[in-house]
């Protein structure tokens, strides 16, 4: 191969290679799981990620009276905000549905997730894990789903089978 041809070939390679040097923009900063843990608060139905701690219905009754009852009523009977207890059988055809934790919610893990992220309304993310387990236990016990001495923790909460667990079906229509 002549020198000229070699130079031409090299030049061609440079021309071909040059666009590959430009990368897609990447402006995200790496973060370790430990550093994002304070934000990683969601709990799926398998209960993975539920924190240490535990609480009983009796302990939950105290927390509920202090922090929840003003909006959710005595023993979760509702008013002015969502009713949390009762409604069993009201989903049946022809009934006026009363959708509560007991009658409608399919997963107990959702209770922990939601209380932790959003409640109490005026001071969310303020309860300890023990308090959240206790309030969850209290609401589940009021609905007759667990016994009055059943403590809730990472293992037991994930094992609770909610009465309406099989009440949901996928939406039937996706045109595309």
């Amino acid at each position: 191969m002549s020198m000229l041809k070699q130079i031409t070939l090299c030049a061609a390679l440079v021309v071909v290679a040059a666009p590959a040097l430009a990368q897609a923009p990447q402006f995200g900063q790496p973060i370790s799981p430990a550093d994002l843990a304070p934000w990683d608060i969601s709990i799926g139905p398998d209960g993975v990620g539920l924190p240490a701690g535990s609480g009983t219905p009796a302990q939950g009754a105290t927390v509920f009276a202090a922090k929840c009852q003003a909006c959710h009523g005595e023993k979760g009977a509702g008013g002015p905000n969502d009713r949390l207890v009762g409604g069993k059988g009201s989903l049946a055809a022809g009934q006026a549905p009363v959708k509560t934790v007991g009658s409608y919610w399919p997963y107990a893990t959702t209770l922990f997730d939601y209380i932790r992220r959003a409640m109490p309304f005026v001071d969310s993310k303020s309860l300890t894990s023990d308090e959240i387990y206790a309030v969850s236990a209290y609401i589940l016990n009021l609905n007759g789903i667990i016994g009055e001495s059943d403590a809730m923790d990472a293992q037991s909460l994930a094992k609770v089978r909610m009465p309406n667990r099989d009440g949901f079906i996928p939406f039937p229509r996706y045109p595309r």
Binding site: G28, G44, P45
Partner: protein
């Protein structure tokens, strides 16, 4: 002076009870036909010279506001049912006072589960983690550096038009009260797929959890296919930064999907194998059917339309020509056609589609109507480009009953009485 303009061509009827051919809108010309519109009016008063014609107005403003004469064009704000939980609820777009297909940012509907957070963009972060090779954090400055994309899209609350689930029609409900949880903006931001490619999605990831930085940590799961299709991380709304009540400084846009999934104040996306089953995808935003079962993960808002004029609060001042105007939209695509009836669905005429007709955006429709001064029942029926037709109220109820609360998209009706008053009716 003879003011009878009999030399104008007449308008062609297209359906019963005075509906006229839409070609008046399509061609900008009146066509000869059977009906004589018979326009007439008393002579106008002499023209006065108003004060503003003689004195200059004030200087300019850094941020413009509508005319002071338009002070009634405001959102309908629902008062909180409990003062302890103010910030739970909504405000509704007054579509009966608006035109075109875009919603002014200040009139975009608002819906929040814990008020409107006041977020410092310097401190806000978006994190992508879970089933990814590289968990990543993005500042607003970083998000602003990516190639951007813009699209016009509606956002509609899943509960919009839910008032029509009531067994009896409440006659006084107006467009805002019934249909005001729909708005349309131009959204600009980064394609979510761009950020996911950077994070490196693991094959096991089938869902994403989107979570807000509001105090309720609003959270919803959505499928990976949507994330890689048309999901956007939005920084701008109608050219300016997203408004606080619409998610400032950054919101998720899932075009066509029910409103709350377009998570505002977006702080976190977690890739998961299964849906997280959050409160707002189990206890709320599921559709309880006639029997004990409920539909879950009903994401797209299906084809729908509403007549914004005439409508309650807008009086018809005597028989004659009126434009019937409204919006039609579908979370599954674009709008193929809109039909209008003024006789409660006995006969229909095609409406003209006016202005931009974009997928997953509302399109303005217009029909011409010669009101004879008698009772009328106005309806609109939209068909989207997947072929789905807006169901009648009877067909809607037959499929799911009226216990679902969400995704109400049946044909709605306005009754017009002899006084020219419109009211919410079931027909």
């Amino acid at each position: 002076m003879n003011d009878k303009r009999n030399d104008l061509p007449s308008l062609e009827p297209a359906a019963g009870n005075g509906l006229l051919n839409r070609r008046i809108f399509l061609e900008g010309a009146l066509l000869a036909g059977a009906t004589t519109a018979g326009l007439s009016a008393a002579a106008a008063d002499p023209l006065p010279v108003a004060p503003w014609m003689k004195k200059p107005g004030p200087h300019f403003a850094p941020y413009g506001m509508p005319s002071s004469f338009e002070s009634k064009v405001v959102r309908a704000v629902t008062p909180p049912n409990n003062p302890l939980t103010a910030g739970v609820g909504s405000s509704r777009t007054p579509h009966h006072l608006l035109e075109g297909m875009m919603t002014p940012s200040g009139l975009h509907f608002e819906r929040s589960h814990s008020g409107i957070p006041d977020i410092d963009p310097e401190q806000h972060r978006l994190v992508i983690h879970g089933l990814v090779k590289r968990p990543l954090v993005f500042t607003l400055e970083a998000l602003s550096r990516y190639p951007m994309t813009s699209r016009i899209a509606f956002v509609e609350c899943a509960g919009n038009s839910g008032a029509l689930n009531a067994p009896q029609a409440a006659p006084r409900l107006d467009v805002a009260a019934i249909h005001g949880l729909l708005s349309c903006s131009e959204w600009t931001g980064v394609k979510l797929s761009t950020l996911l490619d950077e994070a490196g999605v693991e094959p096991a990831a089938r869902w994403l959890l989107a979570e807000g930085a509001d105090s309720s940590g609003m959270s919803r799961s959505f499928p990976i296919a949507k994330a890689m299709d048309d999901a956007m991380i939005c920084l701008y709304q109608n050219g300016e930064r997203v408004r606080p009540s619409n998610g400032y400084p950054v919101r998720l846009l899932l075009p066509g999907f029910e409103g709350n999934m377009n998570v505002k104040w977006l702080r976190r996306l977690k890739l998961t194998a299964e849906p997280t089953m959050t409160k707002d995808e189990t206890s709320k935003y599921t559709i309880l059917l006639k029997d004990e079962k409920a539909w879950q993960f009903a994401f797209p808002l299906e084809v729908k339309s509403m007549i914004t004029r005439p409508s309650p609060g807008l009086l018809l001042k005597g028989p004659g020509f009126y434009e019937i105007s409204g919006l039609a939209w579908s979370g599954n695509g674009g709008i193929r056609q809109v039909e209008v009836s003024t006789d409660g669905g006995k006969s229909w005429a095609l409406a003209a589609l006016s202005g931009p007709n974009l997928p997953k955006a509302p399109v303005r429709f217009r029909a011409a109507w010669q009101w004879n001064g008698g009772p009328a029942t106005l309806q609109s029926r939209a068909t989207d480009d997947t072929g789905m037709v807006q169901p009648s109220r009877a067909a809607f109820i037959a499929e799911r009953g009226l216990r679902g609360n969400y995704h109400f998209n049946a044909i709605a009706s306005w009754g017009i009485n002899e006084k020219g008053e419109a009211s919410n009716v079931y027909a």
